[in-house]
């Protein structure tokens, strides 16, 4: 058997509500040391109906068992393309839990929170240096939130110049959130087709005085560097537009090239991708935004500033787009990202990108010939295959499910949309050659199976606690909560 996948004892577990037993308690509070007060009865509710009643042990065992049904980066190889599932260093977790960071109220006086503010200021500076932007906000809570921030900034810039413009150009290799974000800023989306990479000619054809911005991802979702980016930025700028870059794929470029130097005006970072903060089962992430000096005035309020050796939050920014959330950002995630940057330094970050690109190209070389590679250009941090050469009527979904039996998290599937049956593999730099070899052997075995025994793919996964789930039924008859 190739890969680490095996079967073993798994423990069943009911829903937390089904464990409930009247009278059980899982909490302790000190005795109330003031008189018990009461609210007028018309404001007071009954007990929360059906709320669980459990002991502490019940709760601990319940969630521990649930955790065992999950697969994380610490469990094994997680080559989910575009998500940069690199190892999440443990010391970062310790850092975020330092009581001086974790116990501080966001509205405490600034003179008492100098440690937090200094960390934020230094992180702003470091991110600016890494991506080539003079100004950075740390407020957005996630990549899509950063995108919204960035596009609002672009709109604010155009409004200030007297014409908001109407359109945003989005190449077909862009992230799924890009069109939704443009729409939230009141823009019409104009798709631009590319043949693997976006050409200056294609942009020139669509570019006019009514285009507010071009949204690109570089490297794009095919893992290819947009090599005409500089010329593309010039074309957009010449007609008064701005260029937004989705920074999801920055892990290919650390210390090698900076979006700010390419002519990009606005970019969001994904600290939970490039800077190793954990994905948390779907968040919390953090999506800081870098901008050119000209756009700095529009950044969300407040911005952390340094005056002499004192740090403070600057709310007095009349041109600001406003705030995108309460308080100052996902501070706990910022601590983790700062710990990562301090651990690697400039040289380590560059090494991370180099090894990420080496790993992706190694997988590409080992699988090319067996799996169809729709674009021939040199890959950077990720590689996209298609399911064209699978046999036995097997498709990308079957491959993904079979990989689970071998003990791997599947790659991103059916994305980007420009590749039919896409299989998008991003190994990241934290994986060893042995892991990649084992994974590639599994991929090659599965391709063989599609020829010789396609049912192995069709029936997969068979080693998991549950087999394939009925997603159509779930959507047709939605049951979104437990009911007695």
């Amino acid at each position: 058997m190739k890969g680490p996948g095996r079967s073993g004892l798994t423990l069943d577990e009911k829903l937390i509500f089904e464990h409930s037993d009247p009278g059980r308690r899982g909490y302790s509070l000190p005795p109330l040391d003031v008189p018990v007060a009461s609210l007028p009865p018309e404001l007071t509710r009954e007990e929360v109906a059906d709320f669980p009643e459990l002991s502490e042990v019940d709760v601990v065992r319940h969630f521990t068992r649930l955790s065992a049904w999950n697969y994380g980066v610490d469990s094994g190889f997680y080559p989910l393309g575009s998500c940069t599932m690199k190892y999440n260093p443990k010391v970062n977790e310790s850092a975020a839990r330092l009581p001086g960071f974790s116990e501080i109220h966001p509205l405490c006086p600034e003179n008492l929170a100098q440690g937090s503010l200094e960390l934020m200021f230094r992180l702003q500076e470091a991110l600016g240096e890494i991506a080539g932007f003079p100004a950075v906000t740390l407020q957005p809570a996630a990549g899509a939130h950063g995108e919204l921030t960035g596009m609002l900034i672009i709109r604010a810039h155009h409004e200030a110049h007297g014409n908001p413009r109407r359109k945003v150009l989005i190449p077909d290799t862009a992230h799924g959130t890009n069109p939704a974000t443009a729409a939230l800023c009141g823009y019409d989306v104009v798709p631009v087709s590319s043949d693997g990479i976006l050409t200056a000619a294609a942009v020139a054809e669509r570019m006019d005085e009514d285009v507010a911005a071009l949204m690109v991802t570089n490297p794009n979702t095919l893992g290819l560097f947009e090599s005409e980016i500089r010329k593309i930025c010039d074309i957009v700028h010449e007609r008064g537009g701005l260029v937004y870059c989705d920074g999801a794929n920055l892990n290919a470029l650390l210390g090698i090239a900076r979006p700010g130097d390419m002519g990009i005006d606005v970019m969001h970072f994904n600290l939970h991708k490039t800077f190793s903060t954990p994905h948390g089962g779907g968040g919390p992430g953090s999506g800081p935004v870098g901008v050119t000096g000209e756009l700095a005035r529009y950044l969300p309020r407040p911005v952390v500033v340094r005056e002499k050796d004192v740090y403070r939050l600057d709310y007095d920014r009349p041109a600001s787009i406003g705030r995108l959330r309460s308080f100052h950002g996902n501070f706990g995630i910022l601590v983790r990202a700062w710990a990562y940057i301090r651990t690697l330094g400039g040289e380590g970050l560059r090494l991370a990108s180099e090894m990420a690109v080496l790993n992706a190209n190694y997988i590409r070389s080992r699988l090319e010939g067996t799996y169809h590679l729709p674009y021939e250009k040199r890959s950077l941090h990720e590689v996209v295959f298609s399911d064209r050469d699978l046999e036995g009527d097997c498709h990308t979904l079957d491959l993904a499910k079979r990989l689970i039996d071998f003990g791997y998290h599947p790659p991103t599937v059916y994305f980007p949309l420009v590749v039919k049956g896409a299989i998008m593999i991003e190994p990241t730099e934290t994986e060893s050659k042995e892991t990649l070899d084992e994974f590639c052997e599994a991929m090659l075995t599965i391709a063989d199976e599609s020829r010789n025994d396609p049912d192995r793919l069709k029936n997969a996964p068979v080693r998991t606690r549950l087999r394939r789930l009925d997603e159509t039924g779930a959507a047709r008859n939605p049951r979104l909560k437990w009911e007695r």
Binding site: A37, P40, R45, W69, S286, G322, S326, L358, L380, K481
Partner: protein, 449 residues
């Protein structure tokens, strides 16, 4: 570098399989003129022990904030977090996983979110809850966008007693959309002015957003406001910045809310200088298909066993693109897990008891401060665990005086309300002992002598 496993020999072998002679040549597609021609200008790398020393020193610059007696609230609350919460969320099968796209190996996350959705429905009295959003303010903004979308109308009324940062966030989200935002004043009792609301309601009004409790800790008469809102054909949005209150107060659902958006930080999530927190979002069934965010639903596997999946994805950005219900992609999964664990531990009795402790202690503080010469309670209406105080000497002077004695006495309200230079917001939770409250009262008194 301990996070990168490659030995020089690995690199050589890998390059030879790829068929190139250097790592450098893998980057050949990046034109020279956009390359960085120098090393990144960042501080030199640190070993693990050096890093921890440096960060401990940095964090200790916050020590005075940490060790002060704190009566700060205003949207983030100092509640006790049972040790169990951090231990369980530190299971790396939870925190190193991503969005559960592959349900067969993500049942842990999926079932936990399903339980979280259920707990939020039970607390808010609503029919559906999503898998969470960024925080209370952004959840509130998403509620406004949803009401506009569902109602096909473009006017939204925001109570001026709604958290000012929530209002500002709503403004930012609506900045370039065709949405008119109007603020409704509050009366001397600290409650949203019902007559003003009636005057502002019109046929174009899609939603009215009311804080419950509101920014001043005041328990609004949500049912009465709801009648006005519904008579005008709009949706009532209840924004809950302190959800511990829902252990004691009638649920917004019971009082007629159509959407409940709120901040879940109180449910076991550290203060952490403002984030990561948890936006919770619940609605009625009729709006299920226009809701923003991820939803987890129950289903069965091929053998008929119960399991959970992400569902109703056709609302979302990766499918509907520019016509999606929101651009949100992730949720705050780990924070939702913290809330699910916290609420499971507290349970039926605990959520009631902790709410009652907050209310009773705040009431004790409120009454003691009301008796002080030079101080009065600004609003007569019932309040939950925070209340606005008037100080004859001015809020800034009082708070500074307290800070010098190691007490963070509350939040000066002129930060958000120009007309309130003499007012500050005091928050009391189960974490503040009677002795601490008495110390606050003594310290307040001190300035008058």
């Amino acid at each position: 570098m301990r996070y990168i496993p490659h030995t020089p020999d690995d690199v050589r072998q890998m390059l030879s399989v790829i068929g190139v002679d250097s790592v450098e040549s893998l980057f050949a597609e990046i034109p020279e003129d956009v390359r960085l021609q120098r090393p990144l200008d960042l501080p030199l790398p640190l070993s693990e022990s050096e890093l921890l020393r440096e960060l401990a020193a940095l964090s200790s610059r916050n020590d005075a904030a940490r060790t002060s007696l704190s009566f700060l609230g205003g949207g983030a609350y100092n509640h006790f977090i049972p040790a169990v919460v951090d231990h369980l969320i530190s299971r790396s099968e939870f925190y190193t996983a991503y969005t559960p796209y592959q349900p067969e190996i993500s049942q842990g996350t999926l079932q936990a979110i399903f339980e979280y959705q259920t707990l939020i429905c039970q607390l808010t009295g609503m029919e559906v809850a999503n898998a969470s959003m960024y925080d209370g303010a952004s959840a509130c903004a998403e509620a406004v966008l949803m009401a506009v979308r569902a109602g096909r109308k473009g006017r939204v009324l925001l109570s001026r007693a709604l958290h000012p940062e929530y209002r500002e966030t709503v403004r930012t989200y609506c900045r370039y959309l065709d949405v008119e935002l109007v603020e409704i004043p509050f009366g001397k009792d600290g409650r949203t002015d019902r007559l003003a609301l009636e005057r502002e309601m019109d046929a174009e009004t899609a939603a009215v957003v009311i804080g419950y409790p509101n920014f001043f800790g005041v328990v609004e008469d949500l049912a009465a406001l709801g009648e006005v809102v519904h008579a005008g054909g709009a949706r009532l949005v209840a924004a809950v910045q302190e959800p511990i209150a829902l252990g004691l107060l009638k649920s917004p659902g019971e009082l007629g809310a159509d959407i409940v958006a709120g901040e879940g930080q109180s449910f076991g999530i550290p203060l952490s200088f403002g984030g990561p927190y948890l936006g919770f979002f619940a609605a009625s069934k009729r709006d299920m298909r226009v809701m923003p965010g991820r939803l987890v639903g129950e289903t069965v596997d091929l053998d008929g066993r119960r399991g959970f999946v992400l569902t109703l994805a056709t609302r979302e950005q990766h499918i509907r693109r520019e016509k999606a219900t929101s651009n949100i992609c992730s949720n705050e999964g780990l924070c939702a897990l913290m809330a699910a664990i916290y609420l499971s531990l507290m349970g039926k009795a605990g959520i009631r008891e902790v709410a009652l402790q907050n209310f009773s202690k705040a009431k004790y503080a409120r009454e003691r401060i009301a008796d002080l010469k030079g101080f009065s309670i600004l609003h007569e209406s019932p309040t939950f665990n925070e209340f606005a105080v008037h100080a004859d000497e001015g809020a800034a002077a009082v708070l500074l005086r307290l800070q010098e004695k190691g007490i963070l006495g509350g939040l000066a309200l002129d930060r958000f309300y120009d007309e309130m230079p003499d007012n500050f917001l005091v928050c009391v939770t189960e974490q503040n002992s009677r002795g601490e409250i008495d110390a606050l009262v003594e310290a307040l008194k001190g300035g008058r002598e």
